[in-house]
Symmetry: C2
Amino acid sequence: MRTLDVALGARAYPIHIGAGIFDNAELILPYLKRPRVAIVTNELVGPLYLGRLQAALDAAGVASTAIVLPDGEANKNWETLNLIFSGLLEARCERSVTLIALGGGVVGDMTGFAAACYQRGVPFIQVPTTLLSQVDSSVGGKTAINHPLGKNMIGAFYQPRLVLADVSTLRTLPIRELRAGLAEVIKHALIRDAARMDWLEQHIDGLLACDEDLLAEAVEWNCRIKATVVAADETEQGERAHLNLGHTFGHAIETGMGYGEYLHGEAVAAGVVMAAQLSAQLGMLPEADVERIRRLFQRAGLPVQGPKLGVERYLDLMRHDKKVADGRLRLILLRRIGEAVISEAASQAEIELAIASCCV
Amino acid sequence: MRTLDVALGARAYPIHIGAGIFDNAELILPYLKRPRVAIVTNELVGPLYLGRLQAALDAAGVASTAIVLPDGEANKNWETLNLIFSGLLEARCERSVTLIALGGGVVGDMTGFAAACYQRGVPFIQVPTTLLSQVDSSVGGKTAINHPLGKNMIGAFYQPRLVLADVSTLRTLPIRELRAGLAEVIKHALIRDAARMDWLEQHIDGLLACDEDLLAEAVEWNCRIKATVVAADETEQGERAHLNLGHTFGHAIETGMGYGEYLHGEAVAAGVVMAAQLSAQLGMLPEADVERIRRLFQRAGLPVQGPKLGVERYLDLMRHDKKVADGRLRLILLRRIGEAVISEAASQAEIELAIASCCV
C-alpha cells in the first residue's frame, strides 16, 4: 500500500492506494468520531462492493446505513442529493456520523456536498471505484450538484478525512471508462512531468490490462501532481487552471454533442490534442511532440479528433465556457511536454485552424 | 453610526449599526469584488425597502438583480432556495457577484446558505430588518434550510462580509415581532451581563417605542456579546451553548403547539422563565431574581408561562430536542443574573416541578 498526504493545513488528509484495501476497516477506524457511518453508493457499484464494506465495518463494530442512489450524471441533482439527507435523517444520524462515498465521481461529488451541508458539516471518506475518480476527484475538495441551468453550479469546497483508492476495483470498470480515466493521467504528465510521459509510453498496455502495480503507481503519482497544484491554489485563482488543459475544447465537444455522447475523458483527449496543435501553430511546441501526444492517446484507445461540429459552433461553445478578455480566449497551452501555460496569445483564426485540423 | 468588528481571523467582518444606513451605498461598495449584486428579499420586506436599496446602488454604479421569495419559516426549504439559484443563473451572475440578504432571519439564513453553495461560494452581505435578526442572526455564521424531517438540518457555517443593521427598519416591524426580538436581548443580558439587565429595566419602554438610539445601543451590545461567545467557539463545541438558555423548554413549546403558534422569541421568554425557576429550585438563583426576570418579560409584553401541554409531553419533546446523558437532560441554567452554566444537575422530578409551576 502506498500513502500520500495531501497537505492542506488543518484540512490535511491521507490517500491510501493499493489493491484490496477498500474493506480494510483498520484503515477507516482512526478517522471516525463514533462507530457510525452512512455509506452512499449507486445501483451499479452497490451490488459489487457494498456488502463487503458493510461486513468489514460490522466486524469492526461500526454500525452502517446504506444509501443507494440512481446511477449517472443525469441524477447529479437536488432530488438525488435529498435522498442522502432523507436517508441520514430517517436513520437518525447525528453530527458525529461519517459519510463514506463508495463509487465514481458522481457519487463522490454528491456525498461530499451532502457531508458539507448535513447539520452544517459532517466528516466524509472517499472510496473511489473508477480510475477517473481515483486520479481526479480524490484531490481538490470540489463537491457539487448540477442545476438545470448549469453543471456543478451548486456545491462547496470540502475536503475528505481520508481517501481509499483501491485499484482492484478497476477490474470491474468498463474498459471505455478505464481509457477515459487514462486521458486525465496523460494530461497530468503533459502539464507537469515529461519523464512520466516516457513512463506512460512504456506502460500504457500494462495499464490497460489492469496491472495493479502499474495502476497504483499511476494513481499515486497523479494524486501527488494534483495535490501539489491544489495545495498551491486551493480555491482556483491561478495555476490550478493548468489542470484544465484541453478542457475548454473538451467542454465544447461534450456540450456540442449532448452530454453522454462523449465521456469526459474522451472529450478531454481530443481537446488536449487541439490545445497541443494550437501550441505548435504558435511556435511553442514542436510538431513532433503533437504527434507523440496523439500517438499515446491512440494507443490508449482514446479519440484524437473532435466531431465535426463546425469551427464556428466550437468557438461559440468555447466562449460560453470561459470568460473572454478583449475578444481573446484564455486557454491552457503547452510550452513543452511537461509544462503548461495560461495564454491569451491565440487569435480567433489560429484557434479555428487548430480545431479544423483536429476534426474528423 | 456604531461599528463592531466580529473577530474571526480571515473571516472577520464589521457590523455597522445605525438609523437610515441600509441604503448608504458607500458602506457597501468597499465589500464588492465587482459592481454586481443580487438582492434577496421577501414579499413583505421587498415593497418597503427594495426600491430604495436598488436606487442607491444604481446611483453608485452597482448593477443589481432582485430575487423576491415567499415569506415565512414554512418556505425555508429547498424549493425556495432553488429560486435564489435560478434567479442567479438566469441573471448570469458569476462567481464575482455579491448576494445581499434584505429581510429577517429566514431571508438571512437562506441567502447565506445560497451564497455558501452558489458556484462553491460567493460573498454575501446581511441587511437584517427585524430585531431578532439584528441581534441574533447577524453574528454566528449559521445558515440553513429546513428538511421535512428536521429544522435547519441542511446548511453551512458561512460568514457575511458585512452586516448593516439599520434600526430605522424596525419601525415597520409588527410590535409582536419587536417584543419577540427583545426576548433574545433579555436572554443575552441574563447569560453574560448583569449591568445590562439594569439598563434594560430602565429602558424597556423606550425600546418598545422604537427609540432609535436605545435600539442601536441594544443591538450593538447584543452583537458584541454574541460575537465574543461565537469567536471563542465558532463551531459550537462548548460555551456557545449558553446562548441556548431557555431554548430546550422553548423548542418544546414551539413544537408542542405547532410551529407558528408561538413566535420563537415568545417561546424563548417562557422557556427562560422555566430555566430560571429550575435554577432557583436547585438553589442556584434567588427566588427574587426569578421574579425580576418574569417582571421584565411581562413589561416587554412577552409570555412568562408556557401552554398547558402536560409535563410529560414537555419532557418528551425536550428529550427529542437534546441528547440525554444517563437519563439526565443537559440544560442551560443560571448561577446568577449575568452568568449561565451548562448543567445536568436537575432530576426529572425537579424539571417537572419547574414546568408545572410555569404553565398557564
